[in-house]
């Protein structure tokens, strides 16, 4: 019963390098606990992968009936789109975990501690990116099983996966912001606006096969940039279109995540600091 351990909490560091280390430590500790969830509750990962894996099967079954703009196999065309869509759906996980942690008072407890302001958000990034790596590995294996191939070697293929993770990383920050402002029930309905957003892109159909006005929107969709860049790097068909957006997919695959982060990193940190429910 006698407490013997002397506890001294160090003051939060002031120089930038120590601050960064402090934030990264917090991020790792928070992220680590999230990873326990996957390990101890494997059902979660099944839930997460149900939809993309089903779609891989769907692509396998219907693939032969679909025509790809510019020619080529639909299965080869579809898979990068599916990878992109899965990254985009990941934002639901981010929002869900953030929103329910806030509803449970967990976020408030973090806020009463001498943690780095970015610590919790970085934790989310660690957890969600590790999850996404696993999702991508499983999807790639499934895709290879149904006949998808990458044609430019391992380096560019890994580069494509890197672009997908960059996109996901940017979306983590958007997810944190919306998770902090939306109640859990609203987040649960997140698929309703998100599903059309992922379809109104080059994921399933090439924008050149859409009505011009719709095609233009689809080409400028951030997920389209990442998917088109991936197709290029994988050597998959469907890299067509002569609009500026279609021509500069690789550039946009970096620019869009940068823009998303430029907007949502400050927004989510400010929201975290001034959280009031």
């Amino acid at each position: 019963m006698t407490a013997t351990t002397m506890i001294t909490v160090p003051p939060r560091p002031t120089n930038p390098l120590d601050r960064l280390r402090w934030a990264l430590t917090d991020g790792w500790v928070v992220g680590r606990t999230n990873l326990f969830h996957w390990r101890r509750n494997p059902g979660l990962i099944t839930q997460c992968l149900m939809y993309p894996v089903m779609t891989v099967v769907f692509g396998f079954v219907f693939g032969s009936a679909m025509v790809v703009a510019g020619g080529g196999s639909y299965r080869e065309f579809l898979m990068p789109g599916l990878f992109g869509q899965t990254m985009m759906f990941g934002i639901i996980t981010t929002m869900m975990v953030t929103s329910s942690a806030t509803a449970k008072g967990m976020t408030d407890r973090f806020r009463t501690m001498p943690m780095a302001q970015t610590g919790v958000a970085l934790g989310r990034c660690v957890a969600d990116l590790v999850t996404s790596v696993f999702e991508l590995i499983i999807l790639v294996v499934c895709a290879l099983l149904v006949g998808w191939r990458f044609h430019h070697g391992l380096g560019p293929a890994l580069g494509a996966l890197g672009l997908l993770l960059l996109f996901r990383f940017a979306l983590v920050w958007a997810g944190i912001f919306f998770g902090l402002i939306l109640p859990v029930e609203a987040v649960g309905a997140g698929y309703v606006p998100l599903l059309p957003l992922t379809m109104l892109a080059n994921t399933f159909v090439s924008p050149t096969q859409m009505p011009p006005w719709l095609g233009a929107i689809a080409e400028w969709n951030p997920v389209s940039a990442t998917v088109a860049a991936c197709r290029e790097l994988f050597g998959n068909p469907g890299v067509v279109g002569d609009s500026w957006a279609a021509q500069h997919a690789m550039l946009l695959a970096f620019a869009w995540p940068a823009v998303i982060m430029l907007v949502f990193v400050p927004l989510s940190i400010r929201r975290y600091r001034n959280l009031e429910r």
């Binding site: 407490a3 509750n41 001498p114």
Partner: protein, 344 residues
């Protein structure tokens, strides 16, 4: 009305803002001076003053929506006040929240422990977030598990814990630092009587280690049991403060509730009982209930029963009970605790 109550009842006048700051320099653990906070149209706190000396356990008593949680949120750096000063350990919560965060522990109304983690993992994780080092966090986790009676459950996932165990683990997280000041927001809400008792023991043991505790509660019994100082909040205003004994002598200790069988005789019975006990009873005519304050339980109960018998009053129920928050409000403000307003 409210001002009168404070004059009549508080042993010392509430400190003005200037005096409060001086008190903090003299080492008070918590100071609230003229603290106000509005949420839209709702005034959550309206110029609240309170000084808690180091090592004290202060019970912040009031119904839902009285402003208790808002006070705790401001003191624990979660919310900024609109005006007024809040000091914790002598440090201004709005000017230097990080310094305050190094000195406090907070346990809110909801348990914030992670279901999928074991009890030990939860404590270790929160400990590491205080940057006290992995080894220290581990040692402290074991100590707390022992102290809070969770050593046997240390390696079980929290989702297998009972409600009382989770609450104790949550309190242990709040007590990780053995903090200078600990805030407990309704620590026993939604617990069964057995678990409530365990929490009370734990809170008492934390206070015994020198931590200043500010706890909010809707239960007079809880404040009486744990607190050395009680402050009563109503509509965001401090309507009374003092020691539990002062509060109890003000409201007259236990009550005898008499519920009449027939109707019509309530007023007459109330007048009769007033003469018997020598104090004014509270009457709830709609429920035919008369509530009399009691000094000496047994003698008074005997006198009341004899009077009821002698006067052939038809009685449905007689019960001796502890005073409640409602009784405090009735005696201090003249109206019952007005429960269920929006601000919390």
């Amino acid at each position: 009305m409210t001002e009168n109550v404070i004059d009549r009842w508080s042993p010392a006048p509430d400190p003005a803002a200037g005096e409060a700051v001086t008190a903090a320099r003299d080492g008070a653990a918590i100071v609230m001076a003229g603290l106000s906070k509005r949420y839209g149209d709702v005034t959550a706190l309206d110029g609240v003053d309170l000084v808690v000396p180091p090592g004290a356990v202060c019970g912040l008593l009031g119904p839902n929506g009285a402003g208790k949680t808002t006070a705790v949120r401001i003191l624990s750096t979660l919310t900024r006040p609109d005006s007024g000063t809040a000091l914790v350990g002598g440090i201004d919560v709005t000017r230097d929240p990080d310094e305050v965060r190094r000195r406090i522990g907070v346990t809110g109304q909801r348990t914030t422990v992670d279901d999928i983690l074991t009890g030990r993992e939860n404590l270790e994780t929160w400990g590491r977030l205080y940057h006290i080092g992995v080894r220290t966090a581990r040692r402290r986790a074991d100590e707390l598990l022992e102290q809070f009676g969770l050593a046997d459950a240390a390696t079980r996932m929290v989702r297998q814990y009972s409600g009382g165990m989770r609450r104790r683990l949550d309190l242990a997280v709040g007590f990780l630092l053995r903090p200078q000041v600990l805030f407990l927001d309704e620590p026993t809400t939604a617990l069964d009587p057995h678990s409530r008792n365990e929490v009370w023991q734990v809170v008492a043991s934390m206070a015994a280690q020198g931590t200043t505790v500010l706890l909010t509660t809707q239960y007079l019994e809880e404040a009486d049991r744990l607190a050395s100082q009680i402050a009563v909040l109503d509509h965001g205003r401090m309507i009374a403060q003092g020691t539990p004994d002062e509060l109890k002598s003000r409201i007259g200790g236990h009550r005898i509730d008499v519920v009449l069988g027939g109707d019509g005789a309530v007023a007459r019975t109330a007048r009769g009982l007033a003469r018997v006990v020598g104090a004014e009873p509270e009457v709830d005519a709609a429920a035919s209930r008369i509530s009399v304050p009691v000094r000496d339980q047994v003698t008074t109960l005997h006198d009341v029963m004899r009077w009821l018998h002698d006067n052939e009053v038809e009685v449905e129920d007689v019960a001796v009970r502890r005073p409640t928050l409602d009784d405090v409000f009735l005696s201090v403000t003249g109206h019952g605790a007005d429960v269920g307003r929006a601000a919390a």
